[in-house]
Every structure is written in C-alpha cells, then in structure tokens.
C-alpha cells in the first residue's frame, strides 16, 4: 500500500532571519503526513505552530532542509502549482468584507481560472459544492460584513474547499468562535479528512483534538514530534506540556484539570 505522502518533511529547520542572525523556532523536523487524515498541531503560544504553517504554505522560507508536497520538492514548485496542492484557512486576515460570500468562495478557484478570472461551469460547480458542504448556500449572496463570525469562518473554509487541494492547513480556525460554531468547523474538518484530504490544523482546543485527530503533532522545545492518537496518551508528553503546578492531565478521560 504505497500511498503517496501528502507532506514529507526531512530534517527541516524553520525560523526567521538569515545566516548567523537567524532565529530558529524549531529544527530537525522530520514528519510524514498521509492523505485522508486529520492532524492536530498543538503547542503553547509562541512555540512555532504558525511558523510551521507559514513555512509549509510558502509564506516563509525554511532556514534549512527541504520538504515535499505530493511527492514534489516544495521549493521547486511554481506559486500556481503549489496553490493547487495546498490551501490555507487563517484566523485573522485583512479580507475585504465588501465581497459577497459567493465572491469570497469563488476566489478559491484562482489557480484554475484564466488571466482575468472568468469562472467556467466546472469552477461554478466547485463553488456550489463548497457552499453546500459548509451549509452556506442560502447566504451566498450576502456580503461578508453581514455574516457572523462563525459564518465567515465557514466561508473561508469553503473558499479553501473550492480550491480543491489535497492538503488543507488551518491556523487556529476555531479560536474566536462560539462553542457550536467551533464544533461545526471541527465536524467539517473531520469530514474533509474522511473524504481523502490531508487536514492539518493548529489549535488550542486540545481536548477536541485528542478526540478527533488521527495524529497529534506536538511542538515543544524547538522540536516537532508526531504521535498517533493512542501513543499520545500513553507517552506522557501531555502531562509535561504545561507547568505541573497549575495543570494536570488525565489520560483516561483525556481531559485537562486545574491543579487545585
């Protein structure tokens, strides 16, 4: 069963800056991410989750090392080729709220349209499909400033779905949402993974991640390690994730408690 790896990372070092003045956020990263899987990226604030996401999406250059997307070396890909492999959903971005929901999702078809951005029948189908999946069909003509936080976040996910990429990476997609919107997003991401995509998302919602994800990527002390859902509970890494004086982890219930 030689399934092609979605993302293959080999001894990668990520961070900011150049040469001697480089600030290393994490290094010696070696990971293999498979299709049809949901990966949760967890770690304390500032540990490097966003840095990894920026590096994988191409917004940031790695300090050293390489990684492959769909079997191709990422740095050799054109912007357009990469856009057909990997799409992102970010928390806060200066998105123009004057776009209609439909227009926002339609921008996901950018890598496939002609020089002026005309939408073909195929493109329109992909857009409607994405709107259906995220339950936004009724709201498609509303302007984004008329959508609630949860609806907007779903719209951004719909946009990524319309981009029709085997890999979707989300940076804290549930952080500012109400509980039911949070769960809605998680449900969607789970569903997308089941349908065959590689979904990687950074999150602070550890308990839901432990529940849903096929693997957990843990960022700690400048290292990123991958744990299967079973291994992560038995390895004891979660116990030492937070200061013991304050937080206690119970492996059986898979919950964190305040250490009173």
């Amino acid at each position: 069963m030689a399934k092609q790896l979605a993302i293959e990372i080999e001894d990668l070092s990520i961070g900011y800056g150049k040469g001697n003045k480089a600030f290393v956020v994490a290094d010696a990263i070696t990971l293999k991410l498979e299709p049809a899987s949901l990966y949760g990226l967890i770690g304390i604030n500032g540990s490097g989750k966003s840095t990894l996401i920026k590096t994988l999406s191409g917004a940031l250059n790695p300090l050293s090392g390489e990684f492959k997307l769909q079997g191709e070396y990422a740095h050799r890909l054109t912007m357009e080729a990469r856009a057909k492999m990997l799409s992102v959903v970010l928390t806060k971005s200066p998105v123009s709220l004057n776009l209609s929901c439909y227009e926002l999702v339609a921008l996901g078809r950018h890598p496939y349209t002609n020089w002026v951005g005309k939408l073909t029948a195929l493109d329109k189908e992909a857009i409607y499909d994405a709107l259906e999946k995220t339950d936004l069909t009724a709201l498609k003509d509303k302007k984004c400033y008329q959508l609630s936080d949860g609806q907007l976040q779903r719209a951004l996910l719909a946009r990524a779905i319309a981009q029709d990429t085997p890999i979707i990476i989300l940076d804290e997609p549930t952080t500012h949402l109400d509980l039911h919107h949070k769960f809605n997003m998680l449900k969607l991401m789970h569903q997308l993974a089941r349908e065959g995509k590689t979904v990687l998302y950074a999150t602070h919602d550890l308990e839901q991640a432990l529940d849903l994800c096929d693997s957990i990527l843990l960022v700690k002390d400048k290292r990123i390690a991958s744990y299967s859902r079973e291994k992560v509970l038995t390895s004891g890494v979660l116990e030492s994730l937070f200061p013991k004086e304050t937080v206690r982890f119970d492996a059986e219930s898979k919950r964190f408690f305040l250490n009173k």
Partner: protein, 342 residues
C-alpha cells in the same frame, strides 16, 4: 453575480462621458455657440477661424487631457487602495505625487540653483515627464521597501505621508534659494493645469496612459486576489513580489505622467474609487477598474468645465475645483451610507 447592472452602468457611463466631453469643449472664456462647436467637431469650418482653432487645438486637447488625467488618477488610486488594503490610500497620500513634484522641482528649480543647460526647449516635455515619473517611482519604491518590514498598513500610510512631508521639505528648501521667476513657475505648476498642451504632448500622455491602463488591466486577477490580504493571495497562487512590482509600475506610469503634464491633482485618486464602489456596491476589479476609469474621466471633465468659469476671463486652478466640489460629495455619501464599503 449580476452583470446586468454592470452593463447598464457602462453603457450609461460611456454616454455620460461623451456628453461631458462635448459639454467641456463647448464651454470656455470665449462664447462659441453650441451649433458652431458641433460643426467644428464634425470636421466643418465656421465663419470665425479663431473659433476653429480654439475648439480643435485648445479645448479638444484640454478635454482629452482631462479625460486621461481623471481616468488615470482614479485607476492609480484604486490600485493603491487594493495593494495596501487601506481605504485612505491614493497617489497623493502615499507621497507619489510629492515624489513627482520633487522630480519636477529638481529639474525646474535645480537648474536655476545649480546651473546647467537642462533647460533645452525640445527636451522640456520629455524631461518633465521623465523627471516626474522617476520621482514618483523612487518614492513608491521607498514606501514599498518600508512596507516589507512594517506589516501594519496604517503604519505604511503614515510612512507614505512622511515621505510626502520629506519631499515637500526638500522642495521648500530649494524654493527658499531659488530666484523669484523659477519659484513662481513651480508654484503655478503646483496649482495643476489641464490646458495648453500641444497635440504632440497629448500623444505622449496617451502613450503613458495607455501603458499604465494596460498594465492595470493585466493585473485584475492579482488585484482581486489581494482583496483577501497578502497571505491568502499568496496561497491561491499569486506571486506577491511580482504582482506588487507590476502594480507599483502601473501606478507610477499613470501618476507620474499625469503629474508631469497636469501638475499634482489632488482628491481624484482617493475619492473616485470610493464613490464608484458605493455606487456599484462591488469590490470586484473586473467591474471596478473600468468603472473607476470611466467615473474619473466624467468627474474631471465636469470639474474642468467648472474651473473654466465659462464666459468670464477668469479661470480657477483645477486643484481647487476638484477638492471644493468633490470633498463635500464624499462626505455626504459616507454620512448617508454610514459605512465604508471596502
């Protein structure tokens, strides 16, 4: 996505533009009857040969200048607002016009201070256009360079304003040491002027305008992508650096050439994109870009007709008119809508 209202807008807009053009050519200091104007425009001659000359060689070039200036500045403004994701952006606010002014000041005032035979007559129109374009390009490059380090677009705007102040200060120092004639010439240049260009100059302006517009149209897709912000734009396949550079180039060509031929014209670049967005209720550049170009042309033609103070020998500087009439309109519209659609 509705295209019917868009087509209606363009059809009516083009008609209105043509109307404004004819109106602009009919009004001026000398009272030429409308009938005669139409006759001259359709290739005929009238009894008074001076009228033929005035309409064909003074008013018509002026009207075409107004058209290109209004259209070009509005497009440049739209490009800037989208690129910097900031509704306050415009060629003036980001210091581009100041850069062009500095370029021209160095040529006009600098020749007087530092001496030199830069003042060749034939060189004049090319020289000023080149100086203005180079000046605006350098300022915009500086703003862009700064913006790669500073992520906050508000900070970038302030930096643009600072560049504007800087160039104004340099010009002020030069003006302090300049002989009165050079200074006066620079001051009057800064009032803006649409008239007095030969057909030759119109040709050169048209070239730059065409080039700038073409570049803008070629980047419609990238501009739409930029509506999502730079990070998203990159993720859907936009080569950020390349797109940014092309958009900057288009802006410089437009703003630089226009400032060279007509002086710094305020307000149009900032307001017309907003007015058009409010009117059409869209941010899609496929519709917005040509719409903004059309609106800018119409606005400028009307402002110039007003500036001519028809039937009197006085004229107002075009800069004053654009701001005097335009600013209240924008204020009224925003207060009514209570929201900035951007």
């Amino acid at each position: 996505m509705n295209t019917k209202p868009a087509f209606r807008f363009f059809f009516l807009g083009a008609l209105l533009c043509l109307l404004c053009l004819v109106l602009n050519v009919s009004l001026g200091s000398v009272a030429i009857p409308f009938k005669d104007t139409l006759q001259i425009l359709s290739g005929g001659e009238t009894a008074t040969s001076s009228w033929d000359y005035i309409v064909l060689n003074y008013r018509l070039p002026k009207a075409l200048t107004a058209l290109m200036v209004g259209s070009g500045l509005a497009i440049a403004g739209l490009l800037m607002q989208t690129l910097f994701r900031n509704p306050l952006a415009g060629p003036f606010v980001l210091g581009i016009s100041s850069g062009a002014s500095l370029g021209v000041a160095l040529l006009v005032l600098g020749a007087g201070i530092f001496g030199g035979s830069i003042a060749g007559l034939a060189f004049k129109s090319w020289g000023i256009v080149a100086a203005a374009s180079v000046g605006s390009f350098l300022v915009l490059l500086a703003v862009m360079a700064v913006s790669t380090r500073v992520k906050d677009t508000m900070a970038i705007l302030i930096i643009g304003l600072m560049f504007g102040s800087l160039t104004a200060a340099v010009v002020a120092v030069m003006a302090y040491f300049s002989p009165a004639e050079d200074l006066q010439r620079y001051v009057f240049w800064s009032f803006g002027s649409l008239g007095g260009n030969s057909w030759n100059s119109i040709g050169i302006l048209a070239l730059f305008f065409g080039l700038g517009s073409l570049l803008s149209v070629a980047n419609i897709k990238a501009l739409n992508a930029l509506l999502l912000g730079p990070q998203y734009a990159q993720s859907i396949g936009v080569h950020l650096k390349r797109a940014t550079l092309w958009i900057i180039l288009a802006t410089c060509i437009l703003a630089g050439a226009i400032t060279a031929f007509a002086g710094p014209i305020a307000f149009v670049g900032l307001a017309v994109p907003h007015l058009t967005r409010l009117f059409l209720n869209t941010s899609d550049h496929r519709i917005l870009l040509p719409a903004v170009g059309l609106s800018g042309a119409i606005l400028m033609l009307i402002c110039d007709s007003i500036a001519q103070l028809p039937y009197s020998e006085l004229t107002l500087p075009i800069n004053a008119v654009t701001s005097l009439f335009g600013a209240p309109v924008v204020i009224w519209l925003l207060v009514r809508k209570r929201k900035l659609l951007f």
